[in-house]
Symmetry: C2
Subunit: 142 residues, 2 copies
DNA sequence: AATTTAATGAAAAATACTATCAATTATGAA
DNA sequence: TTCATAATTGATAGTATTTTTCATTAAATT
């Protein structure tokens, strides 16, 4: 039931290669811990977990950024306001985060265009996009 | 046209006093720079601006946190993904941030309950709330 | 195999944030 | 007002986080 379950490693490798980057064993190791955990990790949790696999701290930082840039990691905020990264599919979507276990699921994109029009009228802004994050209790924690 | 324009200093003072805190000249200085700038400040911008007014770094950190807790500062993300703080009224609301000048305006709360119900059905989550931030171009930058 | 390019990781550097504590300032009671 | 109490400040030290550097290693290309 992972967000990115069934994502072929090949797709990720291709995405890296497309921009001249290499899908190294270290980068694969980083991806694997996220792919395997729907609650994701804070940076410090990830560096700790990956240190056990002999992946250096700088590499973790660099890889998390790369995965973010490719759209395979998204940033969310847990109950404590701490920043976590969770596996996701590329593209715009919204995240729904459990306040108890931090499990995150991706919501299919919801149409806020009506809202954006309303806000444009109210404020005079040309609204171009939004970030939306939901929080609540996941089925297991309910 | 500031978000918090016309907010009486008195109200802020009362809010501080209500919890046993004092509205000191330093805290007032912090508040004033935010009140006067709809684009808000990053922490480092704020510490720099306030150092010129002889407000110490620790006090800036402490005061920003206090103003946040009281609801008079809200955190937004600018075009570079950097965290800024902008003056706001207490309570739940959404922020609309200009990608060019970082000017932020507060949107009256918009009803996402229909969306939340839909997401509950789709995911099984008990949705309790959300964070929503819009970005676009403000009238001046359009 | 030789060459070129990218990635790694250890360490240093830079940045961000928090805690400590003596001195100062405000508040309230007498 | 004066004294006692409590909160605040800011300098500094301390901790944590993130980025950069660079020599080395590994991968891709020729």
């Amino acid at each position: 039931m992972n967000i990115a379950e069934g994502l072929p490693q090949q797709e990720l490798k291709n995405q890296f290669n497309k921009t001249g980057l290499r899908f190294t064993p270290q980068r694969e190791a980083v991806w694997r811990i996220f792919e395997g955990n729907p609650s994701g990790y804070t940076i410090s949790q990830a560096t700790a977990a990956l240190a056990a696999q002999k992946v250096g701290q700088a590499t973790v930082y660099r890889t998390i950024r790369a995965l973010q840039d490719l759209g395979y990691l998204k940033k969310v905020h847990d109950q404590n306001g701490e920043r976590r990264f969770v596996a996701s599919r590329p593209g715009h979507s919204h995240m729904l985060v459990c306040r108890s276990c931090s499990r995150a699921v991706e919501c299919s994109d919801c149409d806020l265009s009506v809202l954006e029009k309303l806000i444009s009228r109210q404020t005079g802004f040309a609204v171009e996009g939004h970030h939306l994050e939901f929080f609540g209790l996941c089925p297991e924690c309910s």
